[in-house]
């Protein structure tokens, strides 16, 4: 397993229009020039108007952090499908024992990243390591320690649950028949049932049971609760939490259900159009992104150049802003522009995630005179 020496990654990363232009070329050479700028924690330059702000974190894990063992690490991982970039220079660190939630809208590159990690896809550039091994050449003894719950929970439709259990048992050295039976009981499933007779949610449960009974050190799940009703989702999460409680387990999962992520994840990463724009603890993400309502006397002035602006919603005399790294300077900046009242707004992970993924902030709607 990889040992990492100390280094703290940037707190704020800024994706400038120039870098955007560099990204447009699918066959550019890898290198610093095309990388998201690492601008450091202190004295971070203000992003140019219209730039996308990328939230990093003080707790970002770099190659250099001493004493941390990494279960997953990627370096400038890039994957193209033809001339479309699905994953763009993603550098990710998941420490052992961490529950990492990988978020992002549809088509943001979550599944591609996961498949590269598992060796099911090859990267166009960059590297990925899992439990200290290059993902392109994962040895069988390492696969024995990795569990994978695939998106959609596709299993052999004509098979019975017990047939799949036999198939798993023949390969995985740590297969636990009793644990599998217990999980089936918990999910109220019979080993005699055929996969094609099961609902989406039940297939998800079978898939999870088949994976967990292998007793994996690292569990990778690709949108495991997709299309699952709330009751089954809750049971699914309970099982996941049970697994997490076992010391030393690492879980990487992607999800669209942000309440699930909030419940179980230690760290989150947000992928947008293939770029990892957030990699921090959940608490840090909530702390660093603030939603505020600002009331003005007259018409709302242009706010697009407010430092750290992530999202902006304007209606007549007031504006709701989502700002990264909100502090006293922001308040002063807004007061200078004639803000009469500034109120912090309570926001959930879902609110912040939506703001974060809504594209570049624009005041176009305000100019038209309408609300959002």
């Amino acid at each position: 397993m990889a040992r990492i020496p100390s280094r703290i990654e940037s707190a704020t990363k800024v994706l400038t229009p120039q870098v955007d232009a560099a990204r447009a070329s699918p066959y550019r050479l890898p290198g610093k020039s095309a990388r998201i700028g690492d601008l450091g924690t202190a004295g971070t330059p203000e992003p140019p108007s219209g730039a996308l702000v990328v939230v990093g974190c003080e707790s970002g894990i770099g190659r250099g952090d001493a004493g941390i063992t990494l279960a997953i690490e990627t370096d400038e991982l890039t994957r193209y499908y033809g001339d479309r970039c699905a994953v763009d220079q993603v550098t990710l660190r998941v420490p052992t024992g961490c529950v990492y939630g990988l978020l992002g809208p549809n088509g943001s590159g979550k599944t591609t990243t996961i498949k590269i990690l598992l060796g099911l896809l090859r990267p166009t550039r960059g590297s990925a390591r899992m439990l200290g091994h290059d993902s392109r050449h994962l040895p069988p003894r390492l696969r024995d320690r990795v569990g994978y719950v695939a998106e959609g929970h596709e299993l052999y439709r004509s098979a019975r649950i017990r047939d799949l259990a036999d198939f798993q048992a023949a390969f995985f050295s740590r297969w636990n028949r009793r644990s599998f039976g217990d999980m089936l009981g918990h999910f109220r499933l019979s080993p005699k049932q055929r996969i094609r007779q099961l609902s989406n949610g039940q297939r998800a449960q079978v898939s999870l049971a088949l994976t967990l009974a292998c007793d994996p050190d690292l569990l990778v799940m690709d949108d495991p609760t997709l299309g699952v009703d709330p009751v089954i989702r809750r049971r699914f999460l309970e099982s996941m939490i049970q697994l997490i409680n076992q010391k030393g387990r690492t879980v990487l999962f992607s999800s669209h259900v942000l309440s699930d992520v909030e419940r179980v994840a230690d760290r989150i990463g947000i992928l947008t159009r293939g770029v990892l724009r957030v990699d921090c603890t959940l608490a840090e993400f909530k702390q660093k992104l603030r939603r505020i309502r600002v009331v003005f006397d007259g018409q709302v002035p242009s706010l697009l150049d407010v430092p750290g602006l992530v999202w902006l919603q304007v209606s007549r005399q007031e504006a709701v802003l989502t700002i990264a790294h909100y502090d006293g300077t922001h308040e002063a900046c807004l007061r200078e522009r004639g803000a009469q009242r500034i109120e912090p707004l309570a926001s959930t992970l879902e609110d912040l995630f939506i703001d974060f993924n809504s594209g570049e902030p624009t005041q176009f709607i305000a100019r038209k005179g309408g609300g959002l």
Binding site: G119, E154, Y156, R160, D166, F167
Partner: protein
Amino acid sequence: MIVAIARKDLRAGWFWIAGASILFTGYAIMNLATWPAEFTLGRVVRPFAMLGVIDVDTRFPLVRLSDGALLAMLYGIGFGLWHALPEVGGASGFFFMRPCSRSRLAVGKLITGSVMFWLPGAVATTVAVGWCTWASLSAPLEPWMTAAPLLGWLIGYMFYLSAVAAAWRPARWYGGRLLPLVLPVPLGYLMLEVAPSLEFAWAMGGIYVVILWYVNVYLLTRWEG
């Protein structure tokens, strides 16, 4: 490992073996029963043949069974796609994420598929040979004669391997993906109609089979998606 794959595939695909065994055994019996020299149906047919009313194939019954190549070909394509597609389709994550090298998984699949393919052919040929023995044909019965019906089966097997290659081939366009299914068509024709001897035909098929085994193992090893 191979046993686990075999058990999984046999549980899922027993109906292929059962169905094909019934179909091919039926085909063999029908063929033997209509041989115009000896049997009940044959006796009925023979006078018409002598009068030239119908065209009757008077080749030795076992040799006639090589005509079953068309059926074997259809079985090979259908069974091959059924056998190979799920592993690279929806269930690919489940199949590939096992503590085992991909080449071993590929070999396991191909051995299982080969057994499942040849089993119905073996059943049908055994019944045909048994029939000929039991019926005490006036013609001599030698072991090499089974090479003729099995040649048809070999052609079917070539199509099975080609169907597996089509399933595991990383082509996006369906036309390109199905290309491997076209290759054994001229080869099968040459083996049945042009090859100067049975041995030559078997050698041609054998070379194709060996190449396709390597190709299929390579394809699964390199598969991504």
